[in-house]
Structures are given as structure tokens and as C-alpha cells.
Symmetry: C2
Subunit: 197 residues, 2 copies
């Protein structure tokens, strides 16, 4: 018993996310959001809330998509090495794709730090979850003797996650895909098991 909205809520939220991803939180104005969504201010406000609420919804959407993406990596029952290669390709592909540079969450972690409590929830959640998924991959690889057991899986996973953050920094700063590839190649190669013995 009411007028239905004339736009696709999820589709528009995706568009809004892209704007925040590209321009940052403070760098995005309501005018930017209006242009990309082709909605007027009160429509955005009515559907998603104020600027900060839109932003948090955008962060959450990004996190969900990112989580799904990396969970798919693991669900396919590949070897640990193959999974890590897919992880690497994923990082390199996103660089050449048409979406904004870098990881939205990492970008926002550095813009907002720990000041925005709601944003911090999303940031911490993605960081922890992706670290845990990497740990699971490493654990598998250690059981299969693909990956060194010289260090605990957790430590190795922490380091891979940190390397990923670092690569995101380089990506955003305009580093070449070749350089990013070299770094990720090393990150993987240096934890292979056949070095041990």
C-alpha cells in the first residue's frame, strides 16, 4: 500500500560503492552520489540514509563480495599451491579490471584509521576473515607437504595477508603489474616445502 521505488536498490548501492571506492569517504560529495546513481538527494536519503549510512552499506557490500570471492577460491578443492596461484591472479586481475584501484577496505582503513567505529567493524571483519581463509589454505598445504612447516600456518597466513595489504598500497600508488606479480611470486615461492629438507 504505497508507491514502489523506481530504481533497483542493490544495483544503485553497487554504483554508490564504486564512487566511495574511487573517491574515498571525504572525497565523495552528495553531488557525486547523485550523478552516479541518477537519483536526487532525498531519494538517496530515503533509501539508504545519510552519507555515512550509505558509506557503511557500501563497505558492507564490498566486504560481502570480497568474502564470497575468496571463499570460492577455497571451496574448489585444488591443491594449496593452485589455490595460492588463484589468489595471486585475483589480486593481479583486479588491477587490470575496470574497477577502481586498490582494495576499497584498505583504502578506507587508511583514510579513517580507527576513528569511525562502524567502518572499523567492516575493516576488521574483512582483515580477520581473509587471514583465516589464508591460514586454512596454508594448513592444507602443510598437510600435503606442499608448503613449509617451518612456521605455524597462522604466522605464514599473517604474512601473506600483510603482503596483500602491501601490494594494495603499491597498486593504488600506481605500481606496474609486473612489479606486483614479482612480489606475489616471491611471497608464494618462499613458503614452498621443497626448500626445507
Amino acid at each position: 500500500m504505497s508507491r514502489p521505488r523506481e530504481f533497483d536498490y542493490d544495483k544503485v548501492l553497487h554504483q554508490l560503492m564504486l564512487v566511495f571506492w574511487q573517491k574515498g569517504y571525504k572525497g565523495t560529495s552528495l553531488t557525486d552520489l547523485m550523478e552516479s546513481s541518477k537519483l536526487k538527494k532525498p531519494s538517496i536519503y530515503g533509501a539508504y540514509g545519510d552519507k555515512h549510512a550509505v558509506f557503511i552499506k557500501a563497505l558492507r557490500l564490498y566486504r560481502m563480495q570480497a568474502m564470497e570471492s575468496i571463499q570460492q577460491l577455497l571451496s574448489r578443492e585444488n591443491s594449496a599451491l593452485k589455490t595460492l596461484e588463484l589468489w595471486k591472479s585475483n589480486l593481479l586481475d583486479s588491477d587490470s579490471s575496470n574497477c577502481p584501484k586498490g582494495c576499497f577496505i584498505v583504502n578506507m582503513a587508511l583514510e579513517l584509521g580507527t576513528e569511525d567505529a562502524e567502518a572499523k567493524v567492516e575493516i576488521d571483519a574483512l582483515f580477520e576473515d581473509s587471514e583465516k581463509l589464508l591460514e586454512e589454505v596454508i594448513r592444507r598445504g602443510q598437510k600435503n607437504l606442499e608448503i613449509t612447516s617451518r612456521y605455524p600456518a597462522r604466522i605464514i597466513a599473517q604474512n601473506l595477508a600483510t603482503a596483500q595489504h602491501g601490494v594494495r598500497v603499491l597498486e593504488k600508488a600506481g605500481a606496474s603489474p609486473d612489479k606486483m606479480k614479482a612480489i606475489l611470486d616471491y611471497s608464494i615461492e618462499s613458503i614452498l616445502a621443497d626448500r626445507d629438507a
Copy 2:
């Protein structure tokens, strides 16, 4: 034959840098700069130029200080391992010190990306120079058989630099010093030579 300025140019620039470091470029208003420097708007403008010019001067100051700091690490003729330990302590100390979280340059790299050409000069310069200094340390360590020669010094240095960026991300996001220490410990330990043979 003119009136001298009543404040210390360099001291005030340092203060202004801290504001940009803490609040980011877009997050810093002229009012913020006025409060921290205790100067009025036209005084700031007269001495340093407009907001963007102040910002670039602040970035350059930070880069100079950072460069000097890491060059000092190398100039003391320690072993490569000792130098890397100092490098690690440096990263961990800056976390517990009273200056803003994270690396100013990394923060700005992620806020501005490649859009601000003048800022990009400073960002690229610090990234490249710190990578080169790390490469020099690694090269020394390889000659002394302290550090593995399984990979070229340049690759190892790239990876250490990337780990540093990643740690800066974690620091800014509020990670514990313990976690950062664990990651840096691994980064160093995993390139020691006594693993090879």
C-alpha cells in the same frame, strides 16, 4: 628592509605536517591548520602558499626526515641482521610514539592515489629510495652470508618494503604491536642464510 616574521618557519611547518598526517589532506581544513600553528589564515598563505602548497611542503619534510632516519640505520656499520633489527624497532617504535599512526606517505598514497602529480613525486621518491636502501642492506647481508642468496637482493628488498607497507596498513587500522612484531620477525627470519645449505 622589511618586517620579520614572528614565528619559526620550520617549526610551524612541522606542526602543519602533523595535522595533515593525522587528518589526511581532505580531512584537514584551514581552521585545523590555524589552530595547530596559532597563525591566521593570511599568515599561513603568505609563508607557505595555499592549502595544497602547504601539503606538498609537509610531504617533502616528512620524506626528508624519513630518508634521513633510514639512512642513519645503514651508515652505522652494523651487520645486516643488526640493521634489519633496527629497521624493525624503528617501525614498532613509531607505533608507540606520540606521532600519528601509520606512515604519512603511505596514508597519502592511499588517499590520493595517482591523481595528485606533485604528491606522487614525493610518494614515489620515498618508496623507491627506501627500497634501494633495503636492497643495499640485503646485498651486504648476502656477502656476509647472513642472508640467503636464494633470491636476488632486489627481490628480497621489494618484499621487505611491501611487508613494511602492509604493516603500516595494520598499524593505522589499529593492530596490536605484538601482531606487528610477529610479522616483522617472520619477515626477517625467513630470509636468513642459515636455512639454506
